[in-house]
Amino acid sequence: MRLLEFLENPRLRGGIHTDGHKLLTSGKPIETGLPIPKKLYIPVQQHVGKPAEPVVLVGDNVLKGQLLAHSQGTISAPVHAPSSGTIADVVDYPAPHPSALPIRTIVIETDGLDQWQESVVVQEPYKLDPEEICLRVGAAGVVGMGGAVFPSSVKLSLGRKNNIHTLIINAGECEPYLTCDDRLMQERARDVVGGIRLMLRGMGAEKAIIGIEDNKPEAFQAMQKACFSIANITIQQVPTRYPMGWDRQMLRYLTGWEIPADGRATDIGVVIHNVGTAYAVYRAVCQSQPLISRIVTVSGGAVGKQMNVEVLIGTLMSEVLNFCHVDKSKIARLVMGGAMMGDALPFAEVPVVKATSAILALTQEDIEVPDVKPCIRCSSCITACPAGLLPLEMASRIRANKLDAAVDLGLKDCISCGCCSFVCPSNIPLVQYFKYASGELFKRQQIQHKSEQTKRLAEDRQNRMERIRLENEAEARRVMEARAARAREAELANAQATQIKPENAAAEEAV
């Protein structure tokens, strides 16, 4: 019976072993000497939710850490000035996105002084009110640093309301090439643990479990040392197997619990945060520093000096690449984020944002673009899928534009992790099919919504026309009646006149 249960609910399902390429950068300390760029480009939306609203005007002088745009609505996050200088412009500038479509961006001309704004450092951060912690995290613009960029304060307050008992810290970092979390834990473990303690307090959770992939033994040791004396934080090694860093996979492996497909982690009393977020929380609360920089892994075959580097938000990627001695002629694909789920960017003149965990300059040999061949139904994709889907069946439906059939097969449970595309021997871009289909479904929904709206508008118009017609008719009838009445009156008067006339005539005759 236990064996059957294991088959039905394995702690680890699907997934793939990738060539990690992590040794390129995992042994080198984080570089902090990147010069302050002349110009910083800060998009007003670097998070899930509503874009922030700028509070500065062109020509304003700003100090480092000063608020540039405040958050709008419940799910949003503010952005701050990464360095001191003058606001040069608020324009539409290409976003770090595969389409490179423009996004509203605040441009700062830096003065090179890097002058902080004055702030009060909290004396006893671990005794702050939980609500206060959430507020401070929210005001600092902290978002999920693992790539999801969901505003952290929202997640913390959601946690407080939902009686959270466990905080999971996701330090899987399963993506190939990425080592920014690895280095962060190796070098700043104490700060990370501080952040975790603040999160626990902010949510009122009892315990935290940190999951670290077993290909990062140094980070594991550093973290163990840092939370040696803290009873309610445990660290667990997890197998190196992509996508271990999928939050639901991490949760299932660490605890055996599974989140319902239509629910959130909070539904079962758990909140999952990235380890980088914990560090950002520490900086926000203990040092009163908003999220204005992040550690970025710069790697790939075209990079001369692969490294982890602390970059100010808004620095153009091209400047970071120059700093790392990138051979531009060798770049076949520029990727923001990990090699599995990251976005390919059309050019490097886009800013580093809060979600930029890595900049990968990959060469032709790194990516290999083989020809797409027909599916041979080898079912490798089914074995690899961590969500238990049938990628080959879904893709064949989508190719025939039968999106509803694909949805029935579970398209909405796809997490776009890329395992299926990775293993496909025919090199079918399965993930792109699913991304396309999801977008298309959204579009269809919008069209349907519009169609309903159109119907309503058309009905309104018809009703109005009908009403106008009736009113006109009523008016016409009234006019007609009035005219008829007048005519009758006139006739009557006429008749009376003729009646009177003979009398008069008689009278006249009589005279």
């Binding site: 976003a95 996105h97 389409s99 479509l101 423009p102 996004i103 020809d371 797409v372 061949k373 027909p374 989508i398 190719r399 025939a400 534009n401 039968k402 999106l403 509803d404 025919s426 079918i428 871009p429 792109q432 099919y433 991304k435 396309y436 977008g439 298309e440 959204f442 579009k443 269809r444 919008q446 069209i447 349907q448 519009k450 169609s451 709206q453 159109t454 119907k455 508008l457 058309a458 009905e459 309104d460 118009r461």
Partner: protein, 179 residues
């Protein structure tokens, strides 16, 4: 003798069944085809006439009669085609169908005379304005029926493709293998 029995039995059977079919056909007749109403409910209902029929109801009737293809309605897009095909149990090859590029009408301020003709024909009241004043199109309500374009005396109303923004950018469909 057996043959006679067989003939009698079969004839009676045929008569009884035929009679019952006739009775059923007369008394259980469905007054109006519910399918037409269902289809009409799916359609945009703006009576825009892009399908070549005077309105959505005639189009639905034609669909049920089988005289019009399920791909007749441009504003409905692929999603409508898929739903119609399902409802009418027709197999459609959707792999080649492609939604037309989304268009929206726009008024050029320089040439608009404020003649009000356009907003009188707009089926969704998407054009606002007053006599002798420059009109404007509410992009959200415009269904790109192009009725306004045909009545505009100064050609100031033109169709433009809807601009893609970061918010509604979508992944393109991958190219299939050549086989």
């Amino acid at each position: 003798m057996y043959i006679l029995f067989a003939i009698i039995i079969l004839t009676t059977l045929g008569l009884v069944l035929g009679l019952s079919l006739g009775v059923a056909g007369k008394y259980l007749k469905v007054e109006s085809d519910p399918l037409i109403e269902k289809i009409e409910a799916l359609m945009p209902g703006s009576q825009c006439g892009q399908c070549g029929f005077p309105g959505c109801k005639p189009a639905a009737e034609a669909l049920v009669a089988g005289t019009a293809p399920v791909t007749l309605c441009p504003p409905g897009g692929t999603s409508l085609v898929e739903q119609l095909a399902k409802l009418l149990s027709i197999e459609v090859d959707l792999s080649q169908s492609k939604d037309a590029e989304l268009m929206v009408a726009r008024v050029s301020e320089a040439t608009c005379t404020g003649c009000t003709r356009c907003f009188k024909v707009c089926p969704t009241d998407a054009i606002v304005g007053a006599p002798k004043q420059i009109h404007a199109v509410v992009a959200d309500a415009c269904i790109a029926c192009e009725k306004c374009v045909t009545v505009c005396p100064t050609e100031c109303l033109q169709m433009h493709p809807v601009e893609v923004t970061l918010r509604d950018w979508r992944w393109p469909k991958p190219l299939a293998a050549a086989a």
